[in-house]
């Protein structure tokens, strides 16, 4: 049985893609004509799957070459998986905190211990600024979910990417295409009381596994278990001065 959990996460900040794309292709076919002569379409896949790409990543330093080779070595052949984060930093409902440039910040880094000390290498804890929970349990293949969202600087309205960590199917992402008006909600999550908004969302990728009420939803850098598409490989290439601009494509892992 393919294993979708306990996988490494692609460090998208380190590979510095110049271009990214995420898509939800589904299988549809031309379904003939109706009595008015208009063509109809038949969707046969019961919901889409996720496909994505990071293109023209920046690779020059030895460590970057190491990392690119690790990705290729792990993923070539399309049968091993990894967790791929979606760069939703710019469009998500994230707060604009201090600093320049004033960009939305999905994750706060450098949080010290309670005594103000950082780790020995200067790093601190990190925490998502916006997160959510399932307000109600939902069944396998559910296309409508009720969620609570905490810390958002705007209401959910058109579409946002989200993901959750299933116990068997691992990280799975979706975005919504229909959103109810927000309702106020308060909830205690891990001992901390949060106030936020509750929404009923219609999602474009149905749930891959049933979820319980209270299960955490990630809006900051949502992620999905992905593999390389069949037939795709990522070669190790380098030009003068050891520059390399590798591109990688992903499809949802099954």
């Amino acid at each position: 049985m393919a294993v979708y959990i306990n996988l490494p996460t692609l460090d998208v900040d380190f590979i510095k893609p110049q271009r990214m794309s995420f898509d939800t292709p589904g299988g549809g076919m031309e379904g003939g004509r109706n009595s008015l002569g208009e063509g109809i379409t038949i969707g046969l896949s019961g919901g889409p799957m996720i496909a994505g790409a990071f293109e023209n990543c920046w690779v020059q330093a030895p460590e970057e070459h190491e990392y690119a080779n690790w990705i290729a070595a792990r993923m070539n052949g399309s049968f091993r998986f990894m967790v791929v984060p979606f760069l939703t930093d710019w469009m998500g409902p994230f707060p604009v905190l201090s600093g320049y440039p004033p960009v939305p910040q999905p994750i706060i880094n450098g949080i010290p211990h309670s005594d103000g000390a950082l780790f020995a290498d200067g790093a601190g804890y990190s925490q998502a600024t916006v997160f959510g929970t399932f307000a109600q349990s939902a069944a396998l293949n559910a296309g409508q979910i009720v969620v609570n969202v905490y810390g958002a600087t705007r209401d959910l309205r058109h579409s946002d990417w989200m993901s959750t960590y299933h116990s068997v199917k691992g990280w799975r992402a979706w975005r919504y295409w229909e959103c109810s008006d927000p309702a106020d909600v308060s909830e205690t999550v891990d001992g901390v009381s949060y106030s936020g908004k509750q929404y009923t969302l219609a999602i474009d990728v149905p749930l891959r596994q049933a979820v319980e009420a209270g299960q955490r939803i990630e809006l900051a850098r949502p992620r999905c278990v992905m593999k390389f598409p069949a037939g795709f490989t990522m070669p190790w290439e380098a030009e003068g001065f050891w520059q390399s601009r590798p591109s990688m494509r992903f499809v949802e892992a099954f």
Partner: protein, 199 residues
């Protein structure tokens, strides 16, 4: 009987779910032509309408299915590809288990939220006669997938495929060297009086 809501959906652009059910013992093999696993059921044969139908991938050969639905073919091969090998491993499919089992193909439409709009409506019922399970060797960048072909007979005029081999005295001797127990069977079949051998 197809519910009116499903018929209305079929008149326009819609999402179609095609479901296969093979009545294996003890657990039926349930597949449907979608990506995700889905809770669904055929009311007349499934205990509930919330049985898990496994996502079997995209139908490889759509015209074949059409031919059967229109009643043209009395024997058909259903070919489904793209099944994950681990999924298939959950059923120990061999011919003895499959042969003669009831086989249903049903449809229903899915609503905007990917939920079946009704219980699965069985369109055709047949009897399975043999299954072909193939996992071609994969090289390089290909993913291993299983292609499952099921030969199914429909109606009363069906042609059938035998699964029996002729058990000859030679076979018996191969398993039990020197045993002449079956030596007389060929003559017995012709109606010749057989002298029972003295050992």
């Amino acid at each position: 009987m197809v519910p009116a809501g499903v018929i209305a959906a079929l008149r326009g652009s819609h999402q179609l779910g095609i479901f296969f059910r093979l009545d294996l013992d003890p657990d039926p093999l349930r597949l449907w032509l979608g990506i995700n696993d889905i809770p669904a059921g055929i009311e007349s044969v499934d205990a509930t309408t919330q049985e898990t139908y496994l996502g079997g991938g995209i139908l490889q050969d759509v015209p074949m299915l059409e031919a059967v639905l229109n009643g043209v073919a009395d024997r058909a091969e259903f070919i489904v590809s793209g099944i994950e090998p681990a999924t298939m491993a959950r059923w120990n499919l061999d011919e003895v288990k499959v042969r003669g089992k009831a086989f249903h193909v049903g449809i229903t439409t899915l609503d905007d939220y990917y939920q079946p709009m009704s219980a699965v409506v069985p369109m055709i019922t047949g009897r399975a006669s043999r299954i072909t399970e193939a996992m071609p060797p994969v090289t390089g960048t290909d993913s291993p997938t299983v292609t499952l072909a099921l030969s199914v007979g429909f109606g009363i005029t069906t042609r059938d495929r035998t699964s029996q081999a002729l058990w000859s005295p030679v076979h018996h001797k191969a398993a039990h060297p020197g045993d002449r127990f079956c030596d007389g069977t060929a003559r017995m079949e012709r109606g010749a009086p057989v002298t029972w051998p003295k050992f």
